[in-house]
Symmetry: C2
Subunit: 135 residues, 2 copies
Amino acid sequence: MMSSSAITDRLRAAGLRPTRQRLALGALLFGGGADRHVTAEELHGEAVSQGTRVSLATVYNTLNQFTAAGLLREVMVGPGRLYFDTNIGDHHHFYVEGDGTLLDIPADKVSIARLPAAPAGMSVERVDVVVRVRR
Amino acid sequence: MMSSSAITDRLRAAGLRPTRQRLALGALLFGGGADRHVTAEELHGEAVSQGTRVSLATVYNTLNQFTAAGLLREVMVGPGRLYFDTNIGDHHHFYVEGDGTLLDIPADKVSIARLPAAPAGMSVERVDVVVRVRR
DNA sequence: ATACTTGCAAATCGTTTGCAATACC
DNA sequence: GGTATTGCAAACGATTTGCAAGTAT
């Protein structure tokens, strides 16, 4: 569990003013302890039903700012479905086709034995493994 | 190189009438020999600049029909960027951030040593590896 | 006081769809 | 001729943006 002052500090460290909206969204994202995967719509819904007045546009902006600041990571699984993941460490995902949900796979559960060298003049930024599963 | 009658046959086998538009798009996709990665916009541009009269909506419909017929595979790399891959075999991708291009990685260049079991009641459909690279 | 944020509504982007006109068998 | 396909334009869903009003430092 993360205290609200810890969230304030985190925002300050990222150069973002701790506004009411950012604090509320930050608490939803980082306050629960467990890693989360959310879309902008989902997070907006949570904020609103919790009583926080915030517009969807601000949720989008905030998620993008958090991502730029390295507090979140984008995960792309389906067209028209952009998730933001609070787990910014090394890990992969299960993607459940049908319900369109994402589940973390801890990095130590997947090991990639061989990878090709990056094409000439390019460097590897990240390797994403998505295991598509179906019920 | 694939002859136009071979494309006609392929369309017929998929239950699709070999119309002028589908033949032209099929020739662009499958006629060149090498595997291709295209977006609908790109393919439409190619068709138009080659003199084929075809609407963007038809390109979208055709790509979806080809995919449903197993002639193409969808690859998702970035939000708002759906690629269609003529290589339907087992393989992975380099995604070049910045230019937003895709490169195939042959299946035998990647080996995944360990994978977690699928969550209870689910079966693994496919494992996608995307190696994000940057110049 | 000043610069940064927010909210709204409009704009944009990629993609899909309804429907009348057209092409294929 | 009858059904599948096309093109257009409108509809769509997700995301971004311009700008005036509000808020943090």
